[in-house]
Symmetry: C2
Subunit: 224 residues, 2 copies
DNA sequence: GTCTATAAAGTGATAGAC
DNA sequence: GTCTATCACTTTATAGAC
């Protein structure tokens, strides 16, 4: 921690408030005036510390994306080391893929509901990879290499095409479930005691996804 | 068609352009200036014909939502009539749920890719049901009654909770797949000939969803 | 029904004092 | 590093002429 207490406190306040507001409203709808006022810092502070609004978004998204993708790769690597030469079960692979995204809530200052909304927004392809640091892009490429490889080993009857497509479907399940936990709790928990826990949601997504993956092949390209 | 050629032509031009721009950019990002300029009508025409920008969005979304939900209910009703007293197969029920959303492209002036993006945005819960006409709300409620009922009959081992949750997951699959067909074609079709057709996408989503649904129960509430 | 002109408020970004 | 003041621009919506 360099210099005075004030050095990083504004930057920190901006980051914390940004996470919450981005989760609640989405990146576009949050104005710098709204954000700085709520964070108790000056309007110009965002541009000073992050260069622009885009820079702030990239900082928030990049931190989560990096952490989650690193966690995914590490989990997969550990699982494969433990399994030796045997291919992993699909459900194990999906656990490595999903768990880190949900567990990142522990390092987040947000409530679980808000964190899930932010994570869902981060996983949405809509903003692409614009402005992401190189490390984040690398992590993304690694995930899109390692997980299809592991899945192909577990499901040799599927074409690579189908593996990628079903992984894409699985991402859709995660985004939609994370973005709408309030709907989920409304649908699944009749009363307050019935609220869906993080572990329950994870288990349900894993079962649904793993069984979806093991559906019969439907070749997308003619087998020669 | 009442009165002169000019009566509905502006309204019609606005609707067609709105569909395309909403699909490309999202509801929020499209400004009335952009829209009216591209449609070749006056800036004030949107407020005259639709009351406000919100009114225009509701008109575009409502038309698709109505058509799709009506199609879903009709397809399910037909399938049940044909099956007699036997419960439907899960894949048949999902066909009734998914097919109408993809088939609506036939009554759309958009290209398939743009139509899918618009449909994905319409299916997103983010804007809620604000401003939807009563008929649309009714259709929504009916879908959320009839489909869980049919699925429960097909999958008696699942709790109602789980049925709703897995249907929610299935919606996530559809939204994400429809919103990102370009990614899909990039992932699945190596060359231009390999591009994913509408029928292929539907078949893949059906297999993935149907097998996800038939995964083992994971009771969310303790069975008494 | 269509148009111009404009109101009223919001946006991101920045220069320059402290 | 923080602040004020402001620029340059955009947004939706509307009043009133034709």
């Amino acid at each position: 921690m360099p210099a005075t207490d004030h050095d990083a406190s504004a930057k920190h306040a901006i980051l914390e408030t940004a996470q919450r507001l981005f989760a609640e409203e989405g990146f576009e709808k949050v104005s710098l005036r709204m954000l700085t006022q709520e964070a108790g810092v000056n309007l110009a502070a965002v541009n000073y510390h992050f260069g622009s609004k885009e820079g702030l978004i990239d900082a928030v998204v990049g931190a989560y994306v990096n952490e989650v993708n690193a966690g995914r790769l590490e989990a997969l690597s550990n699982a494969e080391a433990k399994a030796g030469s045997k291919p992993l079960a699909v459900e194990t692979i999906l656990d490595c893929f999903m768990q880190p995204a949900l567990d990142a809530v522990r390092r987040s200052p947000l409530t679980e509901k808000l964190f899930f909304r932010l994570m869902g927004r981060c996983m949405n392809d809509d903003r692409g990879l614009r402005g992401m640091p190189e490390a984040a892009i690398k992590g993304f490429q690694d995930v899109l290499t390692e997980f299809p490889r592991a899945l192909q080993a577990a499901l040799p009857q599927l074409q690579r095409n189908e593996i990628l497509l079903r992984l894409h479907f699985t991402v859709g399940v995660m985004i939609h479930a994370l973005m709408n936990t309030d709907v989920l709790q409304c649908l699944t928990g009749e009363d307050d005691l019935g609220a869906l826990t993080r572990d329950q949601l994870l288990a349900q997504m894993k079962v649904y996804g793993a069984h979806g993956f093991t559906g019969p092949p439907l070749p997308l390209t003619p087998t020669p």
